[in-house]
Amino acid sequence: MNRGLYLIKRLLLAVPVMLFGLTLSFLILYLGPIDPVGTILGRQATPEDIRQLRIQLNIIYPNGEPVPLWDQYLRVMWDLFTLEFGQSWTVQRQTPVIDLIVGRMPATIWLGFWSVLIALFVGIPLGLYAGLRANTYRDYFASGFGIIWRAMPNFWLAVILAGLITAGGALDWYKDFIVTTTVTGTPDVLNNLFTLYHVFEGIPLLEALAIPVPNLIPMAIAFKWILPAALVLGSSSMGNEVRIGRTAVLESINSKYVDTAKSKGVSGRKIIYKHVGRNAIIPLLPVIMGEFYLLIGGSVLVEQVFGINGLGNLFFRSILGPDIPLVMALVFIFVIIQVTVNIVQDLLYTYIDPRISLEDTQ
């Protein structure tokens, strides 16, 4: 089976998974005790307003008959898959959901990007180091970090870190370190990270293309501002990477092919870089991919504590609303991310581990 066919198969398998997630959310929201009319119109609504709204929300037909649940379900699903997300109910009334989401996206992407990156560049090297120095004090030290990172609730860590950076805290200096920034809220530099150069001015078709060039100062400010939040969000992934990295190295270092490589006269350093390192990456792949999963959930809490106006925060507010169109749209987006990450992971596997056969389903 070649890779193209494999991808098609994986995509087909993703359909029931997505439907399951979305259906579940639908059932909770539509079968649960939510009163959309009351939520939107408040108490002082006239019966006519209520009737109009019900028709609009596809709860009753214009003739007053209630719309069956499966009919509502099909309508909701159809709208989602055609990317018709509708308008917000409560978070920002009458605003298209899509606008709300797009507006909150940059902060979350910026936060997620750095949390993944920091976790990767700290967690994996530390894990590999611990594995190579297994059962020494250096190992215990490095693994100790991993254990603590895994055990710390990230909202708590966020509270402590944010608290220490505020006035009078032990880390107060951070705010004035190099450039003066805050660490909470959403700075507007995010809109200024890149300058777009329209180099193809005047050339038809290519005209719309622009080359983004990073603006260093806003970049630095935005980075410094996001660093504490990103550290917190990435902490448990970092812990997982230390731990799994260590185990993976140990597993690989005790294998027969390392003995064979030694018998060939390969040097210790080369054995580690070439033979151990590459094999140790394989079990780390799901951990790295799992970061996205932790990130989506964790962003709700971290954004809450650091006051970042991102998707996590939006999701929280939409649920408290309750703002059903917004919730469904966000769940839809999260599920798509999740499913995509899974497929990417499976495809990456076939590249980094030649043994994975494309014939196998999983």
Binding site: K264, G268, K274, D353
Partner: protein, 360 residues
């Protein structure tokens, strides 16, 4: 013990390439010390194949790993052990020095070809690695050389095979690839640790033929380790029979099969099925192979030996010559046959004492 090992000078027409003397490798666990290899001595001459044969747990693989310097904690090669390769004492080498011996000096083929190739690199990559480290060959030349090596070990369509991963090879081909990888180091000496055990009999035949051909072409010395008496008869020039960490008999292969002297060797040969008709029944050895966790102050085979007598329980048998024409020794209190029992015991005791004094 060692004094008797190479008593017959006539057989040694060439210098040994490898001399193992009084090798002791022990594993320290919380509960006990396992003397996996307990004072063994043997040598291998240039261009010959020496076999080590024994059942599982006899210490034959540990011997191989000791020579390769692959003993990891909790195992340790005990002081007083000596492994001389081409005149160089291996037990005293540092890690870096050992590296220069491995590969270009001694290569090793392990039992399970499935596990001895790194699954994430192509076969070609792993052969080229050998070439680069040991012979400094890189680039296009390395590809050519690697192709030639795969062809030399009988893999058709070698050039394409270089780009395949180990899991795409069949078991026999994988073992060929491992051999090619070791040959790429251009070693003088090859240790084969049960290289055919995981393979089918027709594939085993191919590998044995291959090893013989290669030995002839390259004047390789081979230390061949197996549990299979048939394989040892086929490939070895001289044989060491191991039991519970010790060598119990040493002889040229024809001599060993024609006149096995040690009761263990005899039992081993007799318990091979197939050569005897069904009606005769099989010779069996009672009991189990012991774990060598106490010092060798007795014969470890004694509890299972049909010919054991009282002294076997408290006298450590030493190697004595058991043949007039051949370089054939056995560590058994039944020999030398021409002495009475009490004289034999005395002789072994005095040899044992000489040996311990020599050590200190």
């Amino acid at each position: 013990m060692s004094s008797e090992t190479h008593a017959d000078p006539t057989a040694g027409d060439t210098e040994p390439i490898l001399t193992v003397e009084n090798l002791q490798t022990a594993f320290y666990t919380d509960r006990e010390t396992i003397r996996a290899v307990d004072s063994i001595s043997f040598d291998v001459k240039r261009g010959e194949t020496v076999g080590i044969v024994g059942e599982s747990g006899s210490g034959k693989s540990v011997t191989a790993r000791s020579i390769m310097g692959l003993i990891d904690s909790p195992g340790r090669i005990m002081p007083g052990s000596s492994i001389k390769f081409q005149g160089q004492e291996l037990t005293e080498l540092s890690d870096a020095e050992y590296r220069s011996v491995r590969g270009s000096g001694i290569g090793m083929v392990f039992q399970d070809p499935q596990q001895s190739l790194n699954p994430v690199y192509t076969v070609g990559n792993q052969i080229r690695e050998s070439l680069k480290i040991n012979r400094g060959i890189t680039g296009e030349e390395a590809v050519e050389e690697a192709t030639d090596l795969l062809e030399a070990v009988g893999i058709p369509d070698a050039k394409r095979r270089l780009d395949e991963y180990p899991h795409q090879f069949s078991g026999g081909m994988r073992q060929r690839a491992v051999i090619a990888m070791m040959l790429a180091c251009d070693p003088d000496f090859l240790i084969c640790d049960e290289p055919t055990t995981a393979l089918d009999v027709t594939i085993q035949a191919q590998i044995l033929d291959l090893l013989k051909d290669l030995q002839e072409e390259r004047n390789l010395s081979i230390l061949f380790i197996t549990h299979d008496m048939g394989v040892i008869a086929d490939i070895a020039d001289r044989v060491n029979v191991m039991y519970a960490g010790q060598i119990v008999e040493q002889a040229p292969v024809e001599e060993l099969f024609a006149n096995p002297k040690h009761p263990y060797t005899r039992a081993l040969i007799d318990s091979i099925p197939g050569e005897h008709s069904r009606k005769e029944g099989l010779e069996t050895i009672e009991g189990e192979v012991p774990t060598p966790n106490e010092p060798a102050d007795h014969c470890r085979f004694a509890p299972r030996c049909p010919k054991a007598f009282d002294a076997c329980e408290n006298v450590p048998p030493q190697h004595v010559s058991v043949s007039d024409e051949h370089d054939h020794t056995a560590a058994c209190l039944l020999y030398p046959e021409d002495l009475t029992e009490s004289h034999r015991v005395e002789k072994h005791l005095s040899l044992a004492n000489d040996d311990t004094e020599g050590d200190t």
